[in-house]
Symmetry: C2
Subunit: 305 residues, 2 copies
């Protein structure tokens, strides 16, 4: 799957992923109204609204970008109907040829981590049959529990040719509280980066590993160091746009081949119509606003090369 | 909710939580057969089997223990039908008066962490209505992202009088890879423990905080230190039984009042009938084997006081 991600990035000339992190406050009135008319102001109504909203955006961006990254928390808050919308979104994006990165930040140990890996990347056996539950192509994973937590994911990645992005240095202001603490004179995130390298070393695609890393756009100096620590890891970069990361800061995340990183934007694209810059589209054409914002982002990122 | 947990622990004289972490391989043939007959060898069939299996156990243990801890990964692997079984289990346990600790190990930042907190402990607003999606009483949370990741959970805990257990020192063999690394001469888990103390300080029940901690039974020396670092945090202790933790090792996790810790056992109780010790019950009476194993565990833990 890392090979397909790289191919798609090359083909679309866009190291960009669109974060499908819907909030009800982003969803235009006409979509909410229709969903509530059908299902009421219920979790089912919310799930339907989220799904229709996503579908509109995906239809406008699938030809522009290689990948999408649905954030499962935004679906999980609506319970079972929300997760049904998540499944529909994943399936629809895949039918449109998009690589799907499930931003699930799961992490546990042993058989429990194996169950998460089965849920999101692999299959589960029931009697004589096997089923994939959520069927993403990649998942994000939390490293705090160490190798025991990551290994079951790596095993599934090998078997299914899927991938993970391990949280190394996150984009948020307090990410340094633990991640930046010095261990033998070096920040913890570097040690995690070294482990990412190690976990990914026997799990390689053509040029990059199935095991990638998350490094926030908001810490470019650290991105530069981590790029060297993990030369074969694809870096998923959140924090561009709404969180303050700028294109000029992103160069260090890429390798000299112009590959090695993929930059996420969520709110900046899916709720573009709410920005002054794209207000001309109006809520009715929120999906076209998202398309324009995607085009602009791809151009912005391209400007650094 | 921390007050209710403490009350229940006192009333039942059992600082014990039963981990409802069902694997299909634990579920007796008669339950599987019935579920597959009705729903086929499908995710729905698996979900039904898991739910019936859980119900049998809960009916046998609800009068003995204060709390249960369903591990969501074990349900998530069966997709939507698995999560429906999770919801049924949570609701049923609550109807039986049990405190429900959702072992979800979620953790993200800002609005995303807020969405997880809403999903598991709080409510979500849809139009004029509010709904709780999963409705656990407590949730486990991963601290790697720092205060930004925890604060939204703490806010919901305050509002809804719910609680969290933050992963501090996990029970698995490789937990030391990052958690034990020395920062300014002290292990990282101690710094996380101090933060737990800080996060929980303005979020107190009568004697203990809404913000607790996870510290594995397999590291009693560390448990001793962490007990002192976080005097007001309830400690959720996994790793007893199947993972090798012994009752004699658990004393340091408790305060002098005999409170302050609650010990989990999953496989050792829910799959007790598979152990030689309880084989006499047979698969047909797996639930009674679980009851006996629970009684034995409570006695074992009581022996340390």
């Amino acid at each position: 799957m890392i090979n397909r991600l790289v191919e798609q990035i090359k083909a679309k000339k866009a190291p960009v992923v669109v974060g499908l992190d819907p909030m009800l406050s982003y969803i235009p009135e006409h979509i909410l109204k229709k969903a509530y008319a059908e299902f009421g102001e219920t979790l089912e109504g919310a799930g339907e609204a989220v799904w229709q909203y996503n579908k509109g955006i995906v239809d406008q961006i699938y030809d522009l970008v290689p990948a999408v990254k649905p954030q499962i928390a935004m679906y999980e808050q609506f319970g079972i109907p929300g997760l049904i919308a998540f499944v529909k979104t994943v399936d629809y994006c895949k039918s449109k040829g998009l690589v799907v990165i499930g931003d699930v930040k799961r992490g546990d140990i042993g058989s429990t981590s194996a169950a998460y890996a089965s849920a999101h990347l692999g299959n589960v056996t029931v009697g004589a049959n096997t089923f994939g539950a959520f069927n993403e192509d990649f998942a994000t994973v939390n490293p705090y529990l160490g190798t025991d937590g990551i290994k079951p994911f790596v095993d599934v990645c090998k078997k299914e040719k899927k991938g993970i992005f391990v949280l190394v240095k996150t984009s948020n202001p307090s990410s340094g509280e633990f991640q930046d603490r010095l261990v033998d004179g070096r920040p913890l995130y570097e040690l995690v980066g070294e482990k990412v390298n190690e976990w990914g070393s026997d799990c390689m695609g053509d040029d990059y590993s199935y095991v990638g890393a998350v490094v926030g756009a908001t810490y470019p100096e650290m991105g530069k160091v981590l790029r060297k620590v993990m030369p074969k890891a694809y870096i998923l970069v959140p924090g561009y746009g709404a969180q303050g990361g700028k294109a000029a800061d992103l160069k260090p995340y890429f390798n000299e081949d112009g590959l090695g990183a993929i930059v996420n934007s969520s709110r900046g694209i899916i709720a573009a119509y709410k920005q002054e810059k794209y207000a001309r589209f109006g809520a009715e054409h929120y999906d076209e606003a998202s398309r324009q914002a995607t085009i602009d982002m791809i151009e912005d990122i391209a400007s650094i090369f």
